[in-house]
Symmetry: C2
Subunit: 326 residues, 2 copies
């Protein structure tokens, strides 16, 4: 189709691969290229041509939206402003504390160059943020609760693997069932992050390692595990390879409030994801559509999910949406 | 506050009263007036002055947004276009099949008179619609399931009360737990509305009425009850008055899809409402804020929840939203 939205990816890890998969499910979009810092010959995509990031400006007129799939720590703070000079960009910048500064740095370049810079897209920040906003706008007299999990935590898995005697290990963050039930009941409890979550570890020991010692070292690790209800399960390498090779995640945003005295209203949004990167990628792709449309309308500058009307995300026309799903 | 958004209500039933309650929880808004077709002396609000609907044009310059709280069958098809000539309006028009025509009739008048006509706001249509849109935009390879309940159904309660021997009765629509579990599992079952819901009735018999006969007549009522798993409970007038005098409702929108072969992703949005009209009113008030802002921007014509960016609903500034809840 000639009127497809032409998309390209910068950075081909789990997220970039997820974007490639997602675009194949959106017939109004086509994936033009993957750009990588690595030798293009060494990058194997599903079926998209790979180019060196150094040649990206040659594609300036061939790409409607660039999806930045690098990391929030080192890649995006540089790439966001850098590429917003020449392209409409979308990214999943997720360092919550630094978002205002990042927004400003992208906004400055994007506004000046008449581009759209859509930042912090995904599920948290992203869909969860929107639901926190809806919750407090609809029920101003209320409390918002965000729970994460069940999901693989990269940072905590790394911490386990640093313990002596550990051959392989993963950690899942589990939302506390009893905490969720309390929140759902409308009782509006005060809960810390620690009270809302438990930590479950799956560990493969090195030959001769002392299981008791490893378990104790994990459970008493300050900040990471000590304050939490932590469970350590020892498993074989075989079981580890079979059952712990995916990246599930998810969570809940619950708004519990009252519309008048004694009248409880509870709104709940939840995600149960087999693959965290593939879902984040799916959100990025829908927001790439919105990014293209905002650019077409001349609504330039940095944007977040808060700035995007729902109809900009759908390939359907307004009339189709009103008729079919309103 | 002089910069408060000045709101008025047309029609003071359960919904109008809910709007009055909701505005008291939104300090950036003030409620100027309630307009009624009834004798203003006969309408008792919480603390808002009541005027005859015949005098509404005298308030043309004193009202930023008018919230229409009439019914979708007889009131709104007339009032929507009528008042959109002079005011920015918000309503909860919920006759799904007629929405395209209603949209067109409001759009014509609102566009011509540079007003905003925000239609079909509430939770279904409204928040559920937005979640259906998000679901299919984020997971195009998937299915959407809407469940309603547990909630009081006015139409089915009326049908019970028409059965001979029934003194008082209510009907609750109950979403089927097994159907919800199937959907949550990611198996994407094919389910009819009938398979997704059960019907629970609470009935007070007239003196001397035959319980068996009443139960049979209810359970075999075509369309209303016969196709459903229906339960009839007989209770005393005292219990009826005590436990069945509120209007709870709620439901679920679940999107189950795959991002790639075998990778399930499930999005769920749910509401558990002690009061259906008060929650619908809370949504109307948040969208009244958005309506005012769209009018300020000169973005006139008919709108639905699909056209409203989330940040228009919140009293917070963009920077506050980014800093606090993104």
């Amino acid at each position: 189709m000639n009127n497809q939205i032409k998309v390209a990816i910068v950075g081909y890890g789990n997220l970039g691969r997820g974007v490639e998969l997602s675009i194949s499910k959106n017939p109004d979009m086509s994936l033009v290229a993957v750009f990588s810092r690595r030798d293009p010959q060494s990058v194997t995509t599903i079926n998209t041509p790979v180019y060196s990031i150094n040649n990206i400006l040659e594609f300036k007129d061939k790409i409607d939206v660039l999806i930045l799939c690098g990391g929030s720590k080192d890649d995006l703070p540089i790439q966001g402003p850098q590429f917003a000079e020449h392209f409409n960009v979308v990214d999943s910048y997720d360092n919550h504390a630094e978002i205002p500064q990042y927004f400003a740095s992208v906004d400055k370049v994007a506004s000046k160059n008449k581009k759209v810079g859509m930042i912090s897209i995904g599920w948290d920040p992203g869909m969860f943020s929107i639901n926190r906003l809806f919750g407090e706008a609809l029920l101003p007299d209320g409390d918002t609760y965000t729970f994460w999990g069940k999901g693989l935590s990269q940072g905590h898995s790394d911490a386990i693997r640093r313990v002596e005697g550990v051959k392989a290990g993963v950690q899942y963050t589990i939302p506390s069932t009893s905490a969720i039930e309390k929140v759902r009941s409308g009782s509006r409890p005060t809960l810390t992050t620690k009270e809302k979550h438990a930590r479950e570890c799956f560990v493969v020991l090195k030959d001769g390692a002392d299981a008791k010692k490893v378990e104790n070292e994990i459970k008493t690790m300050p900040n990471y595990f000590e304050p939490y209800d932590t469970t350590v399960n020892f498993i074989s390498q075989e079981e580890f390879d079979k059952n712990h090779n995916t990246m599930p995640h998810g969570g809940f945003v619950i708004r519990s409030g009252i519309s008048s005295t004694g009248v409880n209203q509870v709104i709940e949004y939840s995600l149960k994801l087999d693959s965290n990167p593939e879902f984040t990628a799916s959100v990025l792709v829908a927001y790439a559509r919105a990014t293209y449309r905002l650019a077409q309308k001349g609504d330039f500058g940095a944007k977040t999910a808060f700035d995007v009307a729902p109809n900009l995300l759908s390939p359907k026309t307004s009339l189709e949406l009103i008729t079919e799903i309103l």
